[in-house]
Symmetry: C2
Amino acid sequence: MAYATERFAEQGYHPTSVSEIVAGLGVGKGVFYWYFDSKEQLFLEILKEAQTDLRRRQQQAIADEEDPVRRIELGIRASMAWSEAHRDHNKLIQFAATEAAFGGALRRGQDIAVADVVKHVKEAIAEGRVRDTDPDLLAHAMVGVAGYLTRVFIYERGEPAEETADAAVAFCLHGLLAGV
Amino acid sequence: MAYATERFAEQGYHPTSVSEIVAGLGVGKGVFYWYFDSKEQLFLEILKEAQTDLRRRQQQAIADEEDPVRRIELGIRASMAWSEAHRDHNKLIQFAATEAAFGGALRRGQDIAVADVVKHVKEAIAEGRVRDTDPDLLAHAMVGVAGYLTRVFIYERGEPAEETADAAVAFCLHGLLAGV
DNA sequence: CCAGTTCTTGACCGCCCAGTCAAGTGACCG
DNA sequence: CGGTCACTTGACTGGGCGGTCAAGAACTGG
């Protein structure tokens, strides 16, 4: 699965053939279809694994933090750190969003992740620390910022993840305008 | 090209065959290769057209507005309105980002679009209206927000583009935290 | 009304794909 | 030691792919 992830990320899902994967691993084709029903199922398995792993990382980062705003911040940082360490998985997640066959599975996982953020946003709103706006929308906006900045600054430009995360957090919390 | 865009957006680039496109149009395969060198070139042409069209729309929206912050806002609104009206093109842009063969062409177009935003951000910083942070990063963050909210709220949930744009603008300008 | 050019057709080519399966292979057990 | 069976192999199948091209059709200008 690790090797397949690599190939899918590098060349794309469709251009990567099962023959290529098994040849690269030095095994026969039969063994592939012994463990997986199909190429599609392999991809779904990889996708699920990636989403589970990302979520675990976020939960860990947040575990012993009470302040909801801090939890949001730590969540953003955790997801960007994870993305830096798992470029291939992240690329596959991005690809899955463009393919109807995988959209469903992807959305299911993402809804769970967003629900976590929404919870913290709601708490923060209740405390009057966050603008009283649709928490779901705010959560998605942050996911959008983190994802996009990761792709452009960490992947394409090779900037350090931590600095990029600092900027992402600042943007999410304060926005564009000169504050206070 | 319009029909091809539709097919690509619906099924994905790879799963859509040239035979299918020409059959759907009721023409022979030869006529396709008379007008285009290859399937790849067709896609690049569609991509370029989409980027040009989006840029034109943004320029129009901004044309007679002096205030840099307002220009940024109008740019976000214009891009979300365009995305609502051109779902297929937008999907293709998203797909292009996941495919190495199209990444270059895509980035070239996007850099131009971002450069416009950067210009306004710099002006706004000079006026002291925007936090003094890397303008490039701020511009990309906004692109990320607009793109992601469009996909989730306008495409998936069918929310009205205008309301979503209101929220996107508010998030970009003020961020999460309760202001003032 | 013809010659020349532009445009169109769809059968065809070579290739590669996802997936199958008959034929092993060797670890383990009685 | 023979038998079983979990596991592995890679040649093979049927099909679809991107792309070609000989054979015209349709339209020109003379």
